[in-house]
């Protein structure tokens, strides 16, 4: 993929000040994401994945460096960059339809147009018949389908997903991964997807960006060319899984230095 990147991060870093302590969440990093690409950010807990995603969303300002989208500096949130939350963040006082209509109507598309867009997206994520349900009446998997439909109804250029399936059971998670991939194959929007599941990253990504433990840095970028849908049980996937697991767990061991972490790494995968 060549030409101007969709998202370009240059020397982006973030430190937080909490209780008079400086927390280095993210060390300066460079990253380019191209139009239509599915990129997974993979890294141990606390390494700054959410921080990076929120900076791309425009919710958090970098302490150093710049973020550009289509060559324009990112300074504030915009519906061009939709964010899907691990906690769903649906508006509980709105029905499914209202939630999905929210973006289009707040952008002034008009009621009828907004409703049409919303109904299309609800159908795409397989939630027809649930338009008038409230979020509290849905299962976790259904809630995240609404979360995805709500963002997709805005037709964003870039989808930012922060461990969207992290709170789901493994079966629901697999189904949603497959369905998300289906949606993405129909409409190739650029996706930046945070996960700490190696399998999830291998199943979804064009490129996997592996991050170090806090303060986060990029330690490896692993492209995957295998055609989709991928079989996680074939030889290449298993080898890749061992490789990536090694990369990620090396980070955990490096910081914790504890025997428990080291043991789990050794018991896991050997290259």
């Amino acid at each position: 993929m060549m030409g101007e990147p969709k998202i370009r991060a240059r020397g982006v870093a973030k430190h937080y000040r909490a209780n008079n302590l400086d927390v280095r969440a993210l060390d300066p990093l460079d990253l380019e994401i191209y139009e239509g690409e599915f990129v997974c950010l993979l890294g141990p807990s606390g390494c700054g994945k959410s921080t990076l995603l929120r900076m791309v969303a425009g919710l958090v300002t970098p302490s150093a460096g710049t973020l550009h989208m289509d060559g324009r500096l990112i300074t504030r949130p915009s519906p061009e960059r939709g964010l899907v939350f691990q906690e769903y963040a649906l508006f509980p006082w709105m029905t499914v339809l209202r939630n999905v209509m929210y973006g289009p109507s707040v952008r002034g598309l008009g009621r009828a147009k907004a409703e049409q867009l919303a109904r299309d997206q609800i159908a795409r994520v397989g939630l027809e018949g649930f338009e008038n349900h409230f979020p509290s009446q849905l299962s976790g998997g259904m809630k995240q389908r609404v979360g995805i439909a709500r963002v997709w109804a805005n037709q964003p250029d870039v989808l930012l997903m922060d461990e969207p399936f992290g709170a789901l059971d493994s079966i629901t998670r697999n189904v949603l991964q497959r369905d998300l991939l289906g949606l993405w194959m129909q409409e190739r929007r650029t996706i930046l997807f945070v996960t700490h599941s190696v399998e999830e990253a291998i199943y979804l990504a064009d490129r996997i960006v592996v991050m170090s433990a806090r303060p986060g840095r990029i330690t490896a970028i692993v492209p995957i060319d295998a055609p989709r849908p991928r079989n996680l049980l074939d030889q290449d996937s298993i080898a890749l899984r061992a490789h990536l697991t090694g990369l990620v767990e090396a980070q955990v061991i490096a910081t914790s230095g504890g025997r428990i972490a080291a043991k789990s790494a050794v018991g896991g995968y050997v290259e």
């Binding site: 973006g103 707040v106 805005n154």
Partner: protein, 264 residues
């Protein structure tokens, strides 16, 4: 297995459970009055209380007092809502407003409504205005506290979601914060309503010449303890009716919430 029988049994059981205590209490009360264990001047018998109620219903005192009290209560509560909700939103949302009102509220809010009565009469004289003032004050404090709390503690996630979906910073307050804080605001309204009856009764005892509070006060001076009891029961009925109405209104407004009981 005839399903009809357990239904009848459980109905009877419930009837017994709900009605048992009040019926028993009234029976015991009547019995004690008849035997003379409970002298009239301490507590008149249930029959005397009913007779008193019939008397004031006939001579029109009941209608006058009830309508005066309901008018003051509704007006005062409406004023409290109209003032305390917007102020609470401002205090909860804008940090500068919160800081600048902090000490004032810290000192003023713990003053019980009863302590305001002298000032109320001084400012508004005897009559409706004093009573409305105290009702509004009694309702305003819980409304204010709960509105501030609700707005201050709106989940940041909703705000972030709204921002990334294209909501302008100015729209966040009305589109997101207000509905998200609604359960807390409604709790405040309900607690405020409950609190306002104390304000009403005190105001009517000292600062008015009508209303259920005045009925209670005046009947003591007139040595009509039967009417005193009537007045107290009326306050109880007004209070619980208004509370039920308020609870119904919140349930309707909070249909989206699975647990729609936010009251204490």
């Amino acid at each position: 297995m005839a399903p009809a029988r357990p239904v009848v049994v459980s109905l009877l059981r419930n009837l017994l459970l709900f009605a048992g205590l009040p019926v028993g209490l009234i029976a015991a009360w009547q019995f004690a009055s008849q035997r003379g264990t409970l002298p009239d001047y301490l507590l008149p018998s249930p029959f005397q209380v009913v007779a008193g109620l019939v008397e004031i219903t006939r001579d029109g005192t009941l209608t006058t007092d009830l309508s005066a009290s309901i008018f003051r209560s509704v007006t005062g509560f409406a004023i409290a809502t109209a003032i305390a909700v917007p102020i609470g939103i401002a205090i909860g949302w804008f940090r500068s407003v919160r800081k600048s009102t902090y000490f004032t509220l810290l000192v003023l809010m713990p003053i019980p409504i009863t302590a305001w009565i002298s000032l109320a009469i001084l400012w508004f004289g005897i009559g409706d205005k004093s009573a409305i003032f105290l009702v509004a004050l009694g309702a305003a404090v819980p409304i204010l506290v709960n509105t501030i709390h609700g707005v201050e503690w709106v989940d940041k996630l909703f705000i972030e979601a709204a921002l990334t979906l294209g909501t302008g910073p100015r729209q966040i307050l009305w589109r997101i914060v207000l509905p998200a804080a609604m359960p807390s605001i409604l709790t405040g309204l309900r607690l405020g309503l409950r609190n306002s009856w104390a304000g009403l009764v005190v105001a009517e005892m000292i600062g008015a010449r009508s209303g259920v509070g005045y009925l209670i006060w005046d009947s003591r001076l007139m040595m009509r303890s039967d009417l005193m009891i009537v007045g107290m029961l009326l306050v109880g009925i007004l209070g619980s009716t208004s509370d039920q109405l308020m609870s119904l209104a919140s349930k309707l407004m909070l249909r989206w919430s699975r647990t729609d009981s936010h009251d204490g």
